[in-house]
């Protein structure tokens, strides 16, 4: 019920490397603290010291065990809004509160227009929307829209908070609509993929799959000595060139 822009000038988004994510949650808490005073502030905490600690998070990290060539491996999976080209959370919005920016494709919620009907969270197949029970409005990842262009911040800080924090460098940020951008090249090189393309949401964010595990490639060792006595015979005259 809300229109998507005819065309977006840029497709800003995240590229998340599942090969290097160690599941440390640095992206999640950095996001939490920036956005707690950011565009959609606050990221309300419910019962923070009580029986059911929970709250609004724009970025959550899940850890799974998956089967890989007969072995189990652990995969850490950070999950946040994918800023879809064909965002059903926007088109379903009855008030225009959910919208996709024509300038950069970022999907945002205008809290003044949001009536808290939650249709968008039903529409999003990725579970990326977060309803603030206290404020009664929907919230979500803003791609730190209040950081990335903010000339009041040092240039180095003008990236999403999750990206700045990530200790293993598993998160990248840029224009995925520009095939020549670094992030697009990264996606190309590493076989980056979209989540659940069958849902036809055309997500912008990409995930890089775990690289094939490097296989050891060493010729087997050849035993030269069969125990200490033979070693003694072979090594007693060994020249070392000290």
């Amino acid at each position: 019920m809300t229109a998507l822009p005819q065309q977006v000038a840029k497709k800003l988004g995240l590229v998340i490397d599942l090969d290097t994510c160690v599941g440390c949650h640095a992206c999640a808490t950095s996001c939490k603290q920036w956005n707690d005073t950011g565009h959609s502030a606050p990221l309300t905490d419910y019962d923070p010291y009580g029986a059911s600690p929970d709250g609004v998070w724009f970025n959550r990290v899940h850890t799974y065990e998956v089967s890989d060539q007969g072995h189990s491996r652990t995969v850490n999976f950070p999950r946040s809004c994918l800023h879809c080209d064909n965002a059903p959370c926007v088109t379903v919005c009855p008030t225009g509160a959910s919208f996709k920016r024509a300038e950069d494709g970022i999907v945002l919620v205008d809290p003044d227009l949001c009536i808290g009907c939650k249709l968008c969270s039903w529409a999003c197949p990725y579970g990326a929307r977060e309803f603030d029970e206290v404020e009664g409005v929907m919230k979500k990842c803003t791609l730190c829209v209040d950081r990335i262009y903010n000339a009041n911040l040092p240039e180095a800080s003008r990236v999403p908070a999750c990206v700045a924090a990530c200790p293993t460098g598993a998160r990248s940020f840029g224009d995925l609509g520009d095939p020549n951008s670094g992030v697009s090249q990264l996606v190309k090189q590493r076989g980056g993929f979209a989540l659940m393309p069958e849902m036809a949401c055309a997500p912008v964010n990409r995930y890089l799959p775990p690289r094939p595990r490097a296989a050891p490639s060493a010729p087997p060792l050849t035993p030269r000595v069969a125990g200490f006595d033979s070693a003694l015979l072979r090594w007693v005259d060994r020249l070392l060139g000290g």
Binding site: A51, P53, P167, R171, A231, L239
Partner: protein, 974 residues
């Protein structure tokens, strides 16, 4: 048809005002000590980010660091000094003023100091100012001082310092830009966690590298390893011994490196029964001898141009026989008991995997050798065109550190590194300044002083033989924790885990006051919690507590607070000065020395004081030397900030190495600079100096570095540091156990000393050998987002993890008929704990594990009484005995390594029993709730109020950021 079109796109404020103020300081959410930038709005802390210029974290920040806000605003913060009025454990306190608190402490401690300073036991937990608190203990005159290393990592510190003059933990790291094969033993997620994560990210991005994780549990960094080896806990040393065996048998070792840089060629006296059997043969000047095959003579080892013998017998000048140290090493590890086939089943690692790993180590070390093209000359005068590197690196931390056999396991890893020639070479393990240090480092433990007098040295040190131990004439321990006694001779970090028991028992002697700082000994930092609480509350026949007085300093209402008599409330880390000193645990990196400060970013809104200020004030009131002027007034009325600037020791060294001298023109040494702290603040609260390229490798034998290190005050002499494949010092203890020398163990400890001191590393079974009734290993780890951050009370972090489960291998679960909906009793010889089950594939079959320290005691940490941490969370501490089963005569040793005193909390063995349907869904054991305290003021902040005002000052361009290839250079000093 849409109702709303893109034309109606709401406007968005793209450039809210930046924080009114941004201050730099150092994080304290764990032991990593990253640089942070703290944003302030309306005087309140509103955002914390990594400092891009800081050498430790280069701009990144972990989940803990980014949750520091909630630690700072925690309602569990203490707000005023407290004096106990009810019985211990009741939590009944009276709020008192600081004058009264300090007066009481002065009365108690003053009397002790006049009477017998050892009656004060001062232990400082997760203290980051140990060079200061140790100095305070020294001035007070008590031997009974240490931090928490006894249950943390002392075995690995000792193993490193007594073999390669450095150690893992945050004291060294892989040469990330060059390493090709990286072996990680266990978890490494607290100390240096961000440098490790940055390094792993770099490693993963570089083609041709492999990362092998050896860990019973496939979590954390294991998730991104190229290979995970799910080893059985406590058998890493056996695996390493088999790798050594395979490399020796294939002659794939670095012979030249061993001969030049280790003591492999040193001759070991072979004279069974003699007082010097197993010691190093030396010349008249005391220099170690080798046998030069070119000249067929005994000659001092280490000179260039020798052809030292590594195997076979030689005759010494007195006609006695000797063998090179390597001869003994080869004899031990070529033994069939070390063969892969002999260890495979015990380790749970297939023979083929061990043999393949050995082949890979050899291939990478010797066929993929790399050279950093920087000319250098070694200590023997040999010129080298470049630094030749074996690009095999290893790192190890938790896991190995918590087993009683971890000292030997870690020595085995260091031996493997020496065998491959991969210590401080390109692509190998690299030291961080001020390491390497002589083996062992200078300074022995302080001896007792007379009442009222200071100790002549700091309490902790490095024994070089039995004569440096702290025993009385009868051979009994002089320290309360029995560190440096015949029971735990190399307990270099003390034994905090034994202090409460020993004080209660009066063994070796009763004390008066237990003074603790930042150590949650009433809960997750103690083994056998209920027994520990008994020790804290037990009374003598006359009604007096058996531990008469307990003073506790901490910032938060932990489980320990209600058990103390006097509480000295500390500040949060954003409200204090601190020095991250090279005299302490440095934040250097392999390419440069660094130190840092914390500055108060905000002023406390409670009646609390920084603990270091309190210690200085108390020291002045007690008239302690160094803290008092001749007229009796305080030496440091400006508190810790003044101490950091003005305190000097040695040759014009101080807590901070940067900007010394009147104009701030000197580094490392120099007179105090009154503007030093401001210089640090101006530089982002850290200081770093870069090593020259020729000073960065082979530092144990690199005069360009060693001379620098002498000038910097890291070491006393530029003599090369010879790595010790064979430890003569450990042999000295062995000989004492056999009845040689002036200092011998009492009869009842001789066998223990002989069993446990071996000049060569070897694998040992755990102290608690498995009883058939307890077939499973039970281990713990902290979640990466909570490691070392003391507190799942953090409002954000507990939203990620507020409850824990017992993880069981799915294969074991199938055997035991367990599913994810079951609860089990985890049963050890001393108790049982109830837990929900979670099945997991990536887990050693014989091992169960859980997240540590999630379980909390109801009422503590300002959590609601029904918080899941208390109602469903559990800790395994209840199952771990603090003492080993009694000896034949009833005496009980600590559950610890008999060499280093390391607490053996990973040696826990358990069995599982499925709970009945009526038993599920409630934690057990359940302790009486602690009385809740009034939350600290202003615990919650109004986040929306802190949003920046609109400015319209935005740019059109976005900035691209590529994580994998990002360049994050640390700022270099001119």
């Amino acid at each position: 048809m849409p109702y709303f079109t893109a034309n109606a796109q709401p406007t968005v404020e793209l450039a809210p005002a930046a924080a009114a103020e941004v201050k730099t300081t150092t994080c304290y959410m764990c032991a990593c000590r990253c640089g942070i930038k703290v944003h302030l709005q309306k005087g309140q802390v509103c955002y914390i980010e990594g400092n891009p210029e800081h050498p430790v974290n280069r701009g990144v920040l972990c989940a803990k660091g980014a949750s520091g806000l909630m630690q700072h605003y925690s309602p569990a913060r203490l707000s005023k000094p407290l004096l106990r009025v009810g019985p211990r454990g009741s939590g009944e306190f009276r709020e008192i003023e600081w004058d009264e608190a300090l007066g009481l402490a002065q009365d108690w401690l003053g009397a002790i100091r006049r009477r017998n300073p050892r009656e004060l036991a001062f232990f400082t937990g997760r203290d980051q100012s140990q060079s200061f608190t140790g100095w305070w203990a020294q001035q007070f005159g008590t031997l009974n001082y240490a931090a928490h290393g006894g249950f943390c990592s002392v075995n690995m510190a000792a193993a490193g310092l007594y073999s390669i003059g450095g150690s893992f933990w945050e004291f060294g790291e892989p040469d990330w830009p060059h390493t090709r094969l990286f072996l990680l033993f266990g978890v490494a997620e607290d100390h240096a966690s961000n440098p490790l994560k940055i390094g792993l990210g770099q490693l993963k991005a570089r083609p041709g590298t492999r990362f092998v994780s050896i860990n019973p549990v496939q979590t954390g960094y294991s998730a991104i390893a190229d290979e995970w080896i799910g080893i059985r806990p406590g058998t890493d040393g056996l695996l390493v011994a088999a790798l050594i065996h395979a490399l020796l048998a294939a002659e794939r070792i670095d012979w030249v490196y061993l001969a030049r840089y280790t003591n492999a060629a040193w001759l070991v006296i072979d004279d069974p029964g003699a007082a010097d059997d197993g010691l190093i043969a030396r010349d008249a000047a005391g220099l170690p001898l080798c046998f030069d095959r070119l000249t067929q003579t005994l000659t001092p080892a280490g000179a260039a141009g020798l052809e030292p013998l590594l195997m076979g017998a030689v005759s010494l000048a007195d006609e006695r026989r000797a063998y090179p140290a390597f001869h003994h090493f080869a004899q031990r590890f070529l033994d069939p008991a070390c063969a892969p086939a002999a260890v495979s089943e015990r380790c749970g690692v297939p023979v083929a995997t061990i043999e393949r790993l050995a082949a890979e180590l050899a291939e990478v070390a010797f066929e993929q050798t790399i050279t950093v093209e920087v000319p250098w000359t070694d200590s023997a005068g040999r010129p080298h065109a470049g630094f030749v590197g074996r690009p095999v690196s290893m790192h190890a931390m938790r896991g190995i550190s918590a087993h009683a056999n971890g000292f030997e396991t870690c020595r085995l890893i260091h031996a493997l590194q020496m065998l491959l020639g991969s210590v401080d070479v390109p692509g190998g393990f690299r030291y961080k300044p001020p390491y390497p240090r002589p083996i062992p480092p200078a300074g022995s433990p302080a001896e007792p002083a007379a009442a009222g007098a200071p100790l002549t040295r700091p309490p902790l040190g490095f024994p070089r033989g039995p004569e440096y131990l702290l025993n009385d004439a009868a051979g009994n321990p002089l320290r309360l924790d029995k560190a440096f006694s015949w029971e735990y001779p190399l307990a270099l970090h003390g034994m905090l885990q034994s202090v409460i028991h020993n004080a209660w028992q009066g063994d070796p002697y009763p004390i008066d006051t237990l003074f603790l700082y930042m150590a949650n000994m009433g809960w997750n930092s103690s083994l056998n919690i209920s027994q520990t609480l008994h020790y804290l509350t037990d009374r003598r026949a006359d009604g007096e507590y058996r531990i008469p007085r307990i003073i506790y300093a901490d910032a938060y209402y932990s489980e320990t607070v209600p058990y103390a008599d006097l509480i000295l409330p500390d500040t949060t880390y954003l409200e204090r000065w601190d020095g991250i000193s090279l005299l302490d645990r440095p934040i250097s990196d392999p390419d440069g020395a660094a130190d840092a400060i914390r500055q108060p970013v905000v002023t406390p809104d409670r009646d609390v004081r920084p603990f270091q200020d309190v210690l200085l004030a108390l020291g002045a009131q007690l008239g302690l030397p160094g803290m008092t002027l001749a007229d009796g007034t305080a030496r440091f009325p400006g508190g810790y900030a003044q101490y950091l600037t003005e305190h000097t020791r040695g040759n014009e060294q101080g807590p901070l190495a940067g900007w010394r001298g009147a104009q701030g023109e000197q580094s490392f040494r120099g007179p105090a600079n009154p503007t030093q702290l401001q210089r640090y603040i101006d530089n982002g609260c850290f200081w770093r100096t870069e090593l020259a390229p020729a000073q960065r490798y082979y530092r144990y034998a690199n005069p360009a570095y060693l001379d620098y290190a002498v000038a910097a005050g890291f070491i006393g002499s530029a003599q090369p540091i010879v790595l010790e494949l064979y430890s003569e010092i450990l042999q000295k203890f062995q000989l004492a156990g056999r009845g040689h020398g002036t200092h011998q163990p009492p009869t009842h400890l001789r066998a223990r000393v002989c069993e446990n001191f071996d000049p060569l590393p070897r694998w040992q079974t755990a102290a608690q050998e498995p009883a058939p009734d307890y077939p499973l290993h039970a281990i713990t780890q902290r979640p990466m987002h909570m490691y070392h951050s003391w507190g799942s009370q953090n409002a954000w972090l507990r939203q990620i993890t507020a409850r824990n489960a017992l993880y069981v291998a799915s294969t074991l679960g199938a055997e035991l008929g367990l599913t994810d909906t079951d609860w089990v009793w985890i049963i050890s010889p001393i108790g049982r704990v109830k837990a929900p089950v979670k099945l997991m594939h990536g887990l050693n079959h014989h091992t169960v594990w859980t997240w540590n320290a999630i379980g909390k005691r109801s009422g503590a940490w300002a959590l609601a009484p029904d918080a899941p941490e208390a109602s469903a969370g559990f800790v395994l501490n209840h199952l771990i005995a603090e003492l080993l089963p009694p000896r034949a005569d009833g005496y009980r040793y600590a559950n610890a390594d008999p060499v280093t005193g390391q607490a053996a909390w990973f040696d826990l063995r358990v069995r599982l029993e499925k709970c009945s349907a009526t038993e599920t869904h409630a934690a057990s054991p359940c302790f009486e709730p602690l009385p809740a305290r009034q939350p600290a003021p202003r615990a919650r902040r109004d986040a929306a109020m802190l949003r920046g005002a609109p400015t319209g000052n935005h740019t059109a361009a976005h900035r691209e950021y590529l994580g994998g290839s990002q360049q994050k250079p640390a700022k270099e000093q001119p």
